[in-house]
């Protein structure tokens, strides 16, 4: 399945470089959600995530002829996204006062759904406190379900190192949740 997906991506890259305009939409459709969600994990607001994701695709398409095919297209795209988002966060950490604006849609919901949403909101805020790399690894592994091998290639690390990162990130999050449940001053 994985190699089948990689073949499809490789064919689309070739078609795009050969001037096939339809390849653009197909490539975007295959990866837009993953890249957008990855960017969202860094900035936690819809508008900035959209902007960053667009930037990622622009960079990728502008430099597609430099893509060396040493990794899969998906891996390469994720690398671009991670670099771009990291640079964005570092550049804008002094300029932007609030990074954690929540712009999710507001829907009428039952009380239990609202409480669930508030809990998830708090959890998301704790997730934001993880280091960038740990956040990115968790997102890629747990939500985007990239293989450990793919993630290892993105970060230039061994599979065991990535697995250890998943453990340490989850462990850190567990401690943050535990401290948060003790009281607001601990969170």
């Amino acid at each position: 399945m994985v190699s089948g997906n990689q073949d499809a991506d490789a064919q689309l890259v070739e078609r795009y470089l050969a001037g096939d305009a339809t390849a653009f939409d197909e490539m975007m459709i295959r990866h837009q959600r993953r890249i957008y969600r990855l960017c969202y994990r860094f900035v936690e607001n819809h508008e900035d995530a959209m902007d960053l994701a667009q930037d990622v695709f622009i960079k990728a398409f502008e430099h597609l002829e430099n893509f060396r095919r040493e990794s899969s297209f998906k891996t390469w795209l994720c690398q671009i996204a991670l670099n771009h988002c990291s640079n964005h966060v570092k550049r804008h950490s002094q300029d932007f006062v609030e990074l954690n604006e929540y712009t999710g849609s507001v829907r009428a919901s039952a009380q239990s759904q609202l409480e669930d949403r508030e809990e998830r909101e708090q959890f998301r805020r704790l997730l934001q406190r993880l280091p960038l790399k740990q956040k990115a690894i968790l997102e890629l592994r747990i939500n985007e379900q990239l293989s450990y091998e793919e993630i290892a290639k993105i970060f230039g690390r061994s599979v065991s190192t990535i697995k250890a990162s998943v453990f340490f990130a989850t462990e850190k999050l567990r401690k943050l949740v535990k401290d948060a449940s003790k009281g607001p001053e601990k969170a």
Binding site: E47, D51, D55, R91, H92, D95
Partner: protein, 156 residues
């Protein structure tokens, strides 16, 4: 050929004393600077293609004015320096030069204010906030590149 070179040397030598005081020749890289600010604007403020087309001319005018005002300001600064160093400068001369320099400073501020008020109707509030950030970031980045251009070895 030798006569031509001598003539050229003469021109350079006689003009050389005032090189630092005069407005330097128009920069060859003015177009590059403009492109840089346009690209930074688009990158930071995130304009759509329609906004991009309209804003580009406003940015061009803003940058061209900055060049002109900066050139004028540098000349006036040099004049002030010379007037202060000369022992026979009159108070009137110094006051006039000071006033002109202050006007150049005010023109710089006015140019920025005009730029901000002209782009405002073309952008949404979030983009307008980003324009302020763009002004800071673009200048900072350009300053870093200027330092790199001056000290290429030191930047490695």
């Amino acid at each position: 050929m030798k006569r031509l070179l001598n003539a050229f040397l003469f021109l350079v030598l006689t003009g050389g004393v005032n090189l630092s005081a005069q407005r330097l020749q128009p920069l060859k890289i003015e177009a590059d600077i403009l492109d840089f600010y346009v690209a930074e604007f688009h990158s930071v403020v995130k304009t759509n293609p329609d906004q991009f087309t309209k804003v580009r001319s406003v940015i061009k005018e803003y940058i061209e004015n900055r060049f002109e005002i900066s050139a004028r300001r540098l000349e006036l600064l040099q004049q002030l320096r010379l007037l202060v160093q000369r022992t026979n400068s009159t108070d009137e001369e110094i006051l006039r030069a000071t006033g002109e320099f202050d006007k150049a400073e005010a023109d710089l501020q006015a140019n920025q204010a005009k730029f901000l008020s002209t782009v405002a109707p073309l952008l949404n509030p979030r983009q307008q906030a980003r324009v302020r950030i763009f002004l800071q970031m673009a200048d900072r980045r350009l300053l870093q590149m200027i330092n790199s251009a001056r000290n290429p070895e030191g930047q490695k």
